[in-house]
Symmetry: D2
Subunit: 326 residues, 4 copies
C-alpha cells in the first residue's frame, strides 16, 4: 500500500487532535464517570454541558459532554498552528467539494466545521481560552490521573482511503496492519504531534468513533483505575485489558462510559518526530499485534462504536477476520 511521504508543507498545518464532544443521555452519570472516577477536571458546566480538561492541559477543554437524546458524537476537533491556517483549510476543503461552515464554539476563536472523506464531522480552530497550569497542583490528582487527550480511533469502511485523505493533511503513518491477501490496509495509526497517533483507523462499519484515548504516565495509574472501577459499581464498564498492544507498544485499558462511548487509558508509546521514521508493518494474522501477551480482544471491541450525529455508517468491503476471543 502506498504510505504517504511526510511533508514539511501540508496545505494547512494541524498541530494535534484537540477535543471531542460526546452526546450523553444523563449528564450526572457521565460526570460521575469522567470527573469522579477518571479524574478529569471540570472547567465549566451548566445544565446542558460539562467542559473538561486533563491535568497537564492548558486549553479550556479536551472533552465536552453535552446532553442529548441518544448516545452520539458531535465532532472531532483539531488545533491548527495559527489563525491563517484556518483560511487555508477552508479553501482546501471547499476546493474538494466538502461542505464548510464557520461555527461558534464557546471558549474558542474562529472554528471551521467540515467533514472528512467519509462524512465524519471534523472541526478546526486555533484559539481556545488558555487556563492556568494545574499539572503541579497535586491535590487535584485523583482517579486515573489523566494527563492529556492522546488520540482518536475511528472505524473506517476504507482504511486505504482514510490514510490517503489524512496523509494529504500531513498525518504520518507510524504503524499499520495489512491484509496479506488483498494487500489492503486493515488498520493504520497516523500522527501529527510526535506520538504514535493522533488519528487511527480500523476496518469496520463506519465512520464511527471506536475510542478516544487519554495518556497517563505509568501502568500503575491504570491498575489503580481498575481497582477503583471494580469496587465502585463500574466492573461491567471494563471491556478489555489491561494489556500491551504489539502495535504502538502501548500499555492499555478499554472502558465504556455510561453511554457506551469507549475510552482508552494508555501509556508507553514512543516518540515519532523523525520525518524518516519507518512505519512498522504488522500482519493481520499475527495475534501479538493486538496483544503482545497473547490474549485476544472480545468481540464487542471489534463491533461496537459510537455513531457521529447525522452520519449513516456503511459496511466495509474488506472482510478479513481478526482474532477474536471465543
Amino acid at each position: 500500500m502506498p504510505i504517504p511521504s511526510p511533508t514539511l508543507y501540508p496545505p494547512f498545518n494541524v498541530i494535534r487532535l484537540s477535543h471531542v464532544e460526546f452526546g450523553v443521555t444523563n449528564l450526572a452519570a457521565s460526570r460521575a464517570f469522567y470527573v469522579d472516577t477518571l479524574g478529569l477536571q471540570v472547567t465549566d458546566e451548566n445544565d446542558e454541558a460539562i467542559y473538561l480538561r486533563a491535568l497537564e492541559e492548558r486549553g479550556h477543554h479536551c472533552l465536552i459532554l453535552r446532553k442529548a437524546s441518544s448516545s452520539l458524537i458531535k465532532a472531532l476537533s483539531f488545533k491548527v498552528f495559527d489563525d491563517a491556517q484556518l483560511d487555508l483549510a477552508e479553501t482546501w476543503f471547499r476546493d474538494r467539494g466538502h461542505a464548510v461552515d464557520w461555527v461558534e464554539r464557546p471558549y474558542q476563536g474562529r472554528t471551521l466545521a467540515t467533514v472528512d472523506c467519509f462524512g465524519t464531522p471534523i472541526e478546526f480552530y486555533f484559539k481556545m481560552d488558555r487556563l492556568a497550569p494545574i499539572h503541579q497542583k497535586y491535590a487535584l490528582y485523583h482517579g486515573v490521573k489523566p494527563l492529556r487527550i492522546d488520540h482518536f480511533n475511528c472505524f473506517s469502511p476504507d482504511v486505504d482511503k482514510a490514510v490517503a485523505f489524512y496523509g494529504e493533511l500531513g498525518f504520518r503513518v507510524t504503524e499499520y496492519t495489512e491484509d496479506e491477501e488483498s494487500g489492503r490496509l486493515w488498520a493504520a495509526w497516523t500522527h501529527r504531534k510526535g506520538g504514535v497517533h493522533d488519528m487511527a483507523f480500523t476496518n469496520g462499519t463506519g465512520p464511527r468513533l471506536h475510542h478516544t484515548a487519554f495518556w497517563v504516565p505509568t501502568p500503575l495509574n491504570i491498575i489503580d483505575l481498575l481497582d477503583l472501577m471494580a469496587t465502585t459499581g463500574y466492573v461491567a464498564n471494563i471491556e478489555r485489558g489491561p494489556g500491551r498492544h504489539g502495535i504502538s507498544n502501548a500499555f492499555f485499558l478499554y472502558i465504556l462510559d455510561p453511554d457506551g462511548h469507549r475510552i482508552e487509558i494508555y501509556c508507553s508509546d514512543y516518540q515519532t518526530v523523525d520525518p524518516d521514521l519507518e512505519p512498522i508493518r504488522w500482519d493481520l494474522k499475527d495475534p501479538q499485534r493486538q496483544t503482545l501477551w497473547g490474549a485476544p480482544a472480545p468481540r464487542s471491541w471489534f463491533e461496537n462504536g459510537s455513531v457521529f450525529e447525522g452520519v449513516e455508517p456503511y459496511a466495509s468491503g474488506l472482510k478479513a477476520s481478526p482474532i477474536i476471543a471465543p
Copy 2:
C-alpha cells in the same frame, strides 16, 4: 463451616512453607525458564538437579529442579522452629498412622518425610545451609526479580478435610469460598508466616499441585515479565492475567513452565499476624472473588495441575461450578 481457632501451641511449630522439588523432563529448558527468564538465582547445579533461591532468601533453596522422566512434584517442604519440633512432628504423624521417614536432603539437616491427609508428600526440616544475603546485590536482579517463595496452592478433593487437617497444625484460614447450597468449602487460604497463605486449597481432582507462588514487590515486575516472555518465545506459557484477585487482593500472573508446572507471580497481599483476624468469606457465585476486575479464568486454570510422584489423585465430590471463560 467450622474454621479452626488459632492456637499458640500447635503440636509442633511450622514457621512457613519453604521449598518444593519439581520433576522436570529437560533441565536446560527449565533453567532457561527459571533462571534466565524469571530471575531465580542458582545456588548449586549438576547433571541431575538445579537448586534455586529468590533474592531476599538466605536459605539454600526454595525450588529444586530434578531431572525426571515425566512432569511431577516430589514433595512440598516446610521449615519448623527448631530441631525439637521435628521429633514432635514425627510423633504426631506416627500417632495418626501416617508413614514417617527420616530422609537425607542435600544442604538440609534432619528432614522428616511424611504425607498429609490426602497422601500428599510433605517434608519438614529446621536446618538448611544459610547463604550470604544478596538482596542488596542489585546487579543480580533480572527477569521478574523474585524476592521469595510465597505459597503453595493444591487441588483438593475435600477442602473441608484439608482445612481441618492443616488447621490442627496451626495453619489459620484468612479467606475462603463457600458453596452456598451445600455449605461446604470450595476453596480456602491458610497461613503460618503472617501473609494471606502458605497453603491454599481449591476444590478439584487431587491431591495435585495447582501452583507455586513467588512474591514480587510491585505490579511493574509482573508487567516486565509479560513483556519479556512475550518477546522471547514464551507467549504460549502465559496462562492467566495480569489481574487482581478479589480473594487475597493479590495482583497476579499465572504462567506455565516447560513441563506445565504452574507458577504464580504475585504481589499486594496483606499482613495477617493478628490471632483474631476474621477470615473473609466469598460466595462461589461472586465473579469478583476470582478476578476483582471481572475477567473470568480460562478452563485450563480450573483443570490442569501437577501430580505428586506416586500419588493417584481422585475426584472431588463437590460439583459446584465456578465461573469459567467461554
Copy 3:
C-alpha cells in the same frame, strides 16, 4: 555484643506493635496532616481526640491524636496473642519491679500499662474493636495510601540495654550498627511480626520517640506524597529523603507532623520469620548503612525526637559520631 537467641516461649507472647497516642496542640492541623494529606482513615473523632487506622488494618486504631498543651507521646502500644498473655505480662513486669496498672482504653479490652527499662510508657492489650475490611474499598485511598503501621524507632541512652530487655520479650534483632572501638551497639532493629522491625533503637538522649513508620507498597506512593506535600504548604515538613536505607533495605521518607512528631513512610523491607535469620551487622563508619545511595542525613534527624509524657530523657554515654550532612 550478645544478641539474644530467638525463643519459642517468651514470658508472654507479643504479636506486634499496635498503636501510639500522640499529644498534639491543634487537632484540626493534625487532622489536615494525617487524614487529608497522608490518607489515614478516621474511625472516631470528638473534640478531644481523633482515632485513625490505615487501609489494610481491621483493628480500630493505629494512631490516636489527643489534644494536649504540648507535643508529647502518651504511650507505645502492643497487641498480645490472647487475654491470658496479659496476666503473664503483669506478673513479669511486677516481678521486675516495674509499675503496672490496668487502664481503660476506648475500643480496647483489658489494657496493661507499664514502662520499659528506660521508663518509656508501654501498653499491652489483646482485644480491640474489629472493623470491617476496607482494603478493597479503593475509593477511600488517597494521600500516601498507607496500608499499616509498621514500627516505632526510639532514641535510647543505652542500646545494649534496650536490646537485652526487649530480647527477653522475644523481640529478635534483624540488623544492628556497632561502634567498632567500644564494641557497643549504636543502633538495633528488632521484630516480633516477621518484618525487619517492630521496635528499633538509636543511640541518643532518651527515651524519646524518634519516629513512627507506616508501610506503603511502592516508592511511587512516596513520590506522590512528596508532590502533594510540596504543593499544599507542607514543603518545610519534608525532613529527609526519599532514599534507600542500607539497613533494612527500606525505601524511606521522613516527614514531620505539625507538632514535630516524625513519621516515616516506608516500603521494601523483607521477611524475617526464620528463627535462624542471621542479624546483619553494619559498621558505624559505613555511610551506606544510613543511605545506600550516599546522601547523609541532616543534623535534625539525629537530634530531634518526641518526648514521652512525664519522662525525663537522659544523655547516652556513647559518643561515637555518625555521618551528618554539613
Copy 4:
C-alpha cells in the same frame, strides 16, 4: 525579557536534538558505565570509539564515546527535516559570519559543522543509518532502561543571547528563570520536538555542557539505577537526586560518568506542541523551582561542566546567586 514568538517557518527546520560525542579518557571505563550500568545499546565499537543508541531509537547513535587525552565534548548534533534544510542552514550561518564546514561523520549523510553564538560546536544532518526497532526486544532492557536522548543543558555566559539565537532557529521557550532585579534571564528551557526542552541554558561560565539527558518512563527506573550504582562501585558518581524539579516537573537524577560528564536521567515532563503554549516564569529566589520538594542542589551542580573541544569558556556577567546546599 523578550521571548521569541513561535514561527511556522524558521530559516531551516530542526526536528530535534540528536546526539553528542564525548571525549573520554578510558573507553573500557566508559563502556562499563554507559553500556553495563545505564543500559545503552552498542551499535558499533572499535578501538577508538563506541556508538550507542537508546531502546526506542532507530537512528544509529545518540551518543558517541571517543578516546581522547582529556575529558571534553566534541559537538552537539541536531537532526533537520530533510536534506534541503542543510543547504538553508549553511546559508544562514554563513550569512551571519559563522564558520561552516561539511564534515564526514560515520553512519550519517551530509553533515554541516558550525558554531552557535558562543562558539559552541554544533552539527546538523538529515540522514543517519536507520536500524531495526528494538523497543519490543525486552530481553535487551537492563540498567535504567533508557528510551531516548532527551535534551542538552549548557552553561551559558549570556542566557538572553542564547534564547535569542536559538529562538531565531525556532526553539521555543517553555519555562524560564528570571533575575528579578536585573530583569535578565538566569536560565531557559527551549524545545523543537514537543517536550519541555531540546536545549536548555543555565547562567554560568560557558559555553560548557552542563548535562545530557536520557528519558525513562517512570521514577522506578531511576530508583533501580540508584540501587545498582550504589552497589556496583558507582556511589560516588551519584551527584544529585532523586527529586522533582519545579521547572519542567521532571523527576530527575544527576550522575557523573568516569570523566565527569554529567548525565541526567529523567521522566515526567509534558507535551509542548501548542504554538501558543505560555512559557512558565520562575523567580530565581524560589527554591521550589530547583527542587519542588525543597532540597537544594550541591555546589558542584552549579559549578562543574564539560568543556567543548578547543573552546575557551568565559564568565557570565550575571552574578545573582541560586540556592546552594551548605
